[in-house]
Symmetry: C2
Subunit: 238 residues, 2 copies
Amino acid sequence: MKVGTLAKKAGLTVRTLHYYEEVGLLAPAQRTEAGHRLYGAAEVARLQHVVLLRQLGFSLEEIRACLDQPEASLARAVALRLARLEEEIALQQQLHRRLETIAARLRAAEDVSIETFIQTIKVMTMIEKYYTPEQLKQLEERGRQIGEERIREAEGEWKDLIAEVRAEMEKGTDPASETMQRLAARWQGLIQEFTGGDPGIYQSLKTMYQQEGPAKASRGMVDPEVTAYMVKAMQAGE
Amino acid sequence: MKVGTLAKKAGLTVRTLHYYEEVGLLAPAQRTEAGHRLYGAAEVARLQHVVLLRQLGFSLEEIRACLDQPEASLARAVALRLARLEEEIALQQQLHRRLETIAARLRAAEDVSIETFIQTIKVMTMIEKYYTPEQLKQLEERGRQIGEERIREAEGEWKDLIAEVRAEMEKGTDPASETMQRLAARWQGLIQEFTGGDPGIYQSLKTMYQQEGPAKASRGMVDPEVTAYMVKAMQAGE
DNA sequence: ATAAGACCTTACGTCGCGTGAGGATCAAGG
DNA sequence: CCTTGATCCTCACGCGACGTAAGGTCTTAT
């Protein structure tokens, strides 16, 4: 059997068969005097094995090792490949979460310049530093449950709330006053809605605000003064 | 700022920065008379963008296009990347299912030669031809619920059952006889356990047996004669 | 006999750099 | 001022698994 025939049978190209010979994976049984490659039944079988192993994502090198020493632990090779694949999948899924979040934020933002885009990515990497992968999954799940619309609405509520708090702060209102306690309750309600009541997520959120500062952590929505003032109000309420 | 400094700041190597200049992605603002690269604030910013976009899995070419025409639809680029990623993930997960199945079969088989291994893979590709991806997921899920032990047990039951049916066939027992009806009931019970009662899976299974023939479809456990005899018994029972 | 098709070897391109080789330049100490 | 070590430069090959010519030889059908 000549190369072209074998190539068609195996669904490969002639070049591929040439290459397999080049790397010592599959040599023809013999050659004609003109140098044309001739393959026998054994080669057909071996090629079939190669194709199947390739479909499982093994490298040509690994396949060669596998086929050349039949006593080599196939089970080990499969386990190894499986482990590698699982790592890859985990990476891909992390990337998927990032891209989804970014896409959602892009849909939400009115300004889609490169700057906001880059800003979004920076925020995401910051967030990924403070939440564990499981927490991120949970947050994603909660985001879906709540819906994009409610998220936008909540962002509006935050804006209003912060503005009101700042007004009280500038008026010099006592943090322990009833007005401030009502605002503090709304504040904690919004946080509660975000965390879904999960104490771990609440903790991570707090750590992020402490480490990065309120301005960065809130993406510019709130500044240190207002935050400090609100913390006082919440402490007074305890 | 010189290359080494910039490289350290960005967490890249000097070679990478050289390469980025080579492909027209990031050129230094100027050079010293000795030819040393000098980068300014604008280049630092651009490099930051490049790094971030790389983390999202964009190719250098795509990044260049993105950065060189700021009005280019970032949202579209993200959507495109997301779609590509989802395809990749789907492929990886298919591969993952295959490898898991193979690993399980390898654990179950006493003979772990290349031949059984290859045989397993062939069977898997055949199976994937007849079941939809959702059905495969369902089957995987059922396999986990049932447990490997019960699966091995069931395989033993199949062997016994087939032997008994063959014995009756060779004795010339009437397919409509009560003996055969009891065997048919056991037969259908085992199938039922496998399909989990899903009619779609049952249909796919039937199609596979019709198209591939009983010997191939059952991995050599049953032959056409026994199958035909059993079909008669089941028809007689209706 | 001739034309079309199959075959041969050689070799460069892909992508994102890593890893040298061999030499020029720079900053700091003796 | 000279040396030394760090940093810089360009050039170029390497990777993995082939694709894609280019330019020539062989086989097969008419």
